[in-house]
Subunit: 229 residues, 2 copies
């Protein structure tokens, strides 16, 4: 999809620079205050332009948001595509994908806010974003199934949302809550252990040990027993 329906395209270098400043400022202000609490004045002030200038490039706040959401979508897809395109297996894609996603979130913390807030700005945008993202994810998973890399008994849609959810929440906790101050590699390693099937252990059956029958049972007679029942 092209972004042009959402903006009035600048026609000179100066105009492009101004538009970029406005969009960058918007990302920052939306990140700090959220869409609704962010005023056009907040954005133009940070961008260093007059409030009227905003309306030279955007027909309104809502269009600015849609433009920004589209930018985010493009950036994420491009980053993930570029960093996984040389992977040799689905397993490697998942590993490299998570590592790069965590890195990406650290460097672009505002993206979460922009994307998730669509649910409260226009539900359709939100649904469209994730359904679309999942569709691509599923396509990749189905290819891996054909190659014999994945268990075909696992539904691809369930798997896609499971993996997307995991990445999203890990990025949330480590990138936003912990502000990127953590051991990325440890996270990736633990995550891959889960996917590689190392989650559950069969515990040594304690009940057998504690209350089960012993193989050999001896009863010693002391001869002076007095109480028994």
């Amino acid at each position: 999809m092209d972004a042009s329906p959402f903006i009035n395209k600048p026609k000179t270098k100066k105009g492009r620079e101004t538009l970029n400043r406005i969009v960058s400022a918007a990302a920052q202000v939306f990140y700090e205050k959220g869409y609704h609490s962010a005023s056009i004045n907040d954005i133009t002030r940070l961008a260093g332009v007059a409030s009227g200038t905003f309306y030279v490039y955007f027909d309104g706040k809502y269009n600015l948001y849609k433009f920004l959401l589209l930018q985010c979508s493009h950036m994420i897809r491009k980053h993930l595509y570029e960093s996984t395109k040389n992977c040799k297996s689905r397993r490697e894609i998942e590993e490299v994908g998570l590592r790069e996603w965590l890195k990406f979130v650290d460097q672009n913390k505002y993206m979460y806010h922009v994307i998730w807030e669509s649910l409260y700005i226009d539900k359709e945008l939100f649904v469209e974003y994730y359904v679309n993202f999942a569709k691509n994810y599923i396509k990749g998973l189905d290819i891996a199934k054909k190659e014999g890399e994945l268990n075909t008994e696992i539904d691809s849609e369930v798997l896609a949302f499971t993996l997307m959810g995991a990445s999203n929440f890990l990025g949330l906790n480590y990138g936003l809550f912990k502000d990127g101050r953590y051991d990325h590699e440890m996270v990736v390693e633990s995550f891959m252990k889960i996917l590689n099937g190392g989650l559950f252990r069969v515990p040594e059956e304690k009940k057998e040990k504690e209350t089960g029958e012993l193989p050999i049972r001896l009863t010693v007679e002391f001869g002076d027993d007095e109480e028994e029942d």
Copy 2:
């Protein structure tokens, strides 16, 4: 935590009924329009009371939201606790937990909206909610580790956010996007296959097959070869 700091407690049956109507209406309107677009008038109109009545029980819109968030938090924890308390293993907890969560989302679709929107109303509420939820989750995982049920090499925090993310996104897709019209049991089964380590298959090594050395190599001479290089 007690909810009383956020409300002016009603003192009669009639007051309690009115407060319930307002909170229920708020959940519905927040679900439909989001916090910021939901006006007090929208809420009181749906509740069937005058706008001023709202301020008899709440000191403002923000307090209503905090009250509602706390209610959601309680309901979710209670539901999950009640439905998993008799589980015999961690594996069973995860299975029953997901099944019940999906059911719960179907019956209380507004919860997602209320909880996630906290990120745009008061970031601290959002962080507090999830950090707290994770803390409890981790506690349970650590117990399972002690029992020998889980791989101790997997970091509990990573695992907690992985599982929370998966449940959240599955609930999102099936409960909200698909509006609950799907086969719950299929989702749970696929999810458990992933957790049980059945995700990756070792593909028959195609490269060996296609380009590798054959065990026996025969070269047939036809005698009439003309081109070779």
